[in-house]
Symmetry: C2
Subunit: 460 residues, 2 copies
Amino acid sequence: REEYVEISPSDFFYRNKDIAGFDNPVRATYMIVRELVENALDACDRAGRAGNIYVAFRGKGSGVFQVEVLDDGIGVPEDEIPKAFGKVLYSSKYVLRQSRGTFGLGGTMALLYGQITTHEPFEVCSSIGDGYAARYRLRIDIQNNKPIVERKQRIKVPPGATFTLVKLTFEGNYERAKGKILEYLKQTAIITPYINIVFRDPKGAIYVFPRATTKLPEEPKESKYHPYGVDVEVLKRLISETKTRNLVSFLSKSFQSMGRQTAIKVLKKARLDPEKNPRKLTDRELVKLVRALRSYDKFRAPDASCLSPVGEEALEKGIVKELRPEFVKVVQRPPSAYEGHPFIVEVGVAYGGGVPATGDIVLYRFANRIPLLYDAASDVAYKVIRKIDWSTYYVDPARTPMAVFVHICSTKIPFKTVGKEFIADKPEIAREIELGIRECARALRSYILKKIAKQRIVER
Amino acid sequence: REEYVEISPSDFFYRNKDIAGFDNPVRATYMIVRELVENALDACDRAGRAGNIYVAFRGKGSGVFQVEVLDDGIGVPEDEIPKAFGKVLYSSKYVLRQSRGTFGLGGTMALLYGQITTHEPFEVCSSIGDGYAARYRLRIDIQNNKPIVERKQRIKVPPGATFTLVKLTFEGNYERAKGKILEYLKQTAIITPYINIVFRDPKGAIYVFPRATTKLPEEPKESKYHPYGVDVEVLKRLISETKTRNLVSFLSKSFQSMGRQTAIKVLKKARLDPEKNPRKLTDRELVKLVRALRSYDKFRAPDASCLSPVGEEALEKGIVKELRPEFVKVVQRPPSAYEGHPFIVEVGVAYGGGVPATGDIVLYRFANRIPLLYDAASDVAYKVIRKIDWSTYYVDPARTPMAVFVHICSTKIPFKTVGKEFIADKPEIAREIELGIRECARALRSYILKKIAKQRIVER
Ligand SMILES: Nc1ncnc2c1ncn2[C@@H]1O[C@H](COP(=O)(O)OP(=O)(O)OP(=O)(O)O)[C@@H](O)[C@H]1O
Ligand SMILES: Nc1ncnc2c1ncn2[C@@H]1O[C@H](COP(=O)(O)OP(=O)(O)OP(=O)(O)O)[C@@H](O)[C@H]1O
Ligand SMILES: [Mg+2]
Ligand SMILES: [Mg+2]
């Protein structure tokens, strides 16, 4: 009597597009812009150049819009285009290296939303620099999670030119999404100062967010897991992929921050023979090894070459340019790790000057250089700020004109939602945010005390 | 240079277990209880009886717990057990009928969490009443989204006896999750007064939540989509499944609240020939039909037989039993629809008496009889309450001892998270919540005004 059915992942995210962040036409309009811009930014970073992104809206009447996003990033190979855009859970970002994309969903969901609201196909045109561009007209077979190629062309382009153009039609609400879209582009420009963004709205108005620098950050490199916090599943996968033949080599080759000496100490803790072949571990031994890895507390801090923090100088510049505060202090915490993933927290506190007094501390949140504009109250950074007793820093959140900037970068940002709106309350991350905020708050306190002292001298 | 990879849906939810609601050991402990209890409650409802659920925790040392959930619901057929529990996106609840389960994920995620934290297999034992129970020991092949059967037995049981037992071992934190777990069971007892729940905690303490009534609600029946708000994808699927040969029959047979007269009016609006075969519709005609369905505003209200609201009387009893307020008013709104899905909002307002004055209105949220205990500030009900000017009802949220209960039931609850923590801001739903709250608030205002008048008479 009960009917047991399997559905595809695209069918799941279609039925539950609220889960994917597309819960109403206003939010969907914002999501389409941010998902396509984030793909373009990732592509420009992979190209290792100070990229250029062009976003154009055209109104088609009765709530229907066409949006085009063009970037000069690395492009997509011709035979990968249909699956990259027409299939969910298909991605080039399932690697241990910082990127904005992480789920293998966002771009495809934006295109899917267009398809279900207007029944129009979407277009992707891209070149990886071989002198040809592939131009596809595509739809998504939602029930089976595969692309439908309606048309394909090959176009000659200058050799070496790389770019990607994505065009779709959807039903949305630009007027009510406009504020958030422009705020998103503005905050993106702060946190990625080496990128040019040009935005054309449905009325033809042009907004330019010019690059503030041509200096690129170090490109993040693919990394291995950090041993701190890994689970049994990760260990099993590493064992199934390893070419090593004994446990010491397995541990020191499979993980970062793990030399042979440390490996021997961990194996001793787990009471495992260092010469044993990892594939011969029994289930009980696997669990003992995981427990030993979790409880060993002397691992070197993670290698941060897989990460691309903003940097104290660049973050400070961005805050000053945006808010013109009387005082600013920026702190980059040392690399840390949670559940095998390296992460770095960067915090900035701005006070006075152009910082508005809004009745509460203004919180700007970023993750892997993505501005997070929704659901602040559910975010780990907000919870940390709420728990701090600000009076010890001579700050009254209700009256002090103060803004806090929090940027977290990691090989995996623990978003609580597919729409990447807010970050889960991980103890390791909460701790680093708190330490960063307190360090900035101490500097703010010194500044405030000096200011009070100066005013008293003046008053005498 | 870029490596394009596909991952399975179980791999996706394993890598992103924060998205699934399992973001730390405390939250995971709560989620495991609620996911298994919700499965048990759905099974008891499908059995059409006043069910019994037994939840037992046993501490195994160093943060490891074993949990067992036993229910006397409809059970799972022997050959379906491995996939129902060992595969994500596999469910008996992908139908248009109210149930707690909706994603095809929850139970499997709980079992997956146990597997990745302890490497232990899990056990399922169930009978559908044919005199035999199937008992499986299972694991999940996460990379391929399929069950691994480690052991299977058939056990003789009394014919007609139906039950399901799920047992798993996981690493969690019962002490810090205890408060939320007990609150969840208590609120479940309020909103499902016909169910018996017995809970044994790791120390052996027994908590009993006895049924308050044997009177069962009407069992919800499978329904068709309501025509209001359907999208192109739904229409295409209905067309691919229909046996009708002309558009009038197609519309009136495929949708609820759509008679032949209404179908003819809608087709006229879409300028489509009523005799046309639905399979012969062109893309442009499909879009015209969807637009006509969306803009036609005279559809009958949905048929609520696919829903199972609590009912004004039962909800009021539950509120009175829980809070012993001085005043209570409960309103069940008429059925409405969003995006093709019928829904009913039920609101209760309680004032004074045992209602605590906490400095803000206390909000109790329920969806399809599931208590929602997290992230209230992101929920649509909270946003509605924040927007109301309470002074017109002689209420000061900061000082009036007042609680608001909101229950939404639907064939699809628009949760914004896989963890079912809060509900998306859908305009149709927000509107019904507001109308329900205002109706209760007006009754409260009359009561408060009478109370003030009486006090003045007494004072003279
Ligand atoms: N503008 C682009 N330039 C180059 N590659 C792109 C572009 N847009 C998409 N892609 C490719 O398509 C893949 C899928 O994109 P999609 O946005 O669906 O997922 P994702 O970016 O990997 O993850 P997320 O869901 O977190 O955004 C990307 O991994 C990337 O390889
Ligand atoms: N106690 C139970 N009794 C009967 N059937 C069950 C029980 N637990 C699970 N099932 C079956 O297993 C299926 C999968 O359960 P699972 O919790 O993974 O998903 P769901 O309940 O369908 O959706 P959700 O993810 O929203 O909980 C259910 O649809 C149901 O058919
Ligand atoms: Mg993306
Ligand atoms: Mg379930």
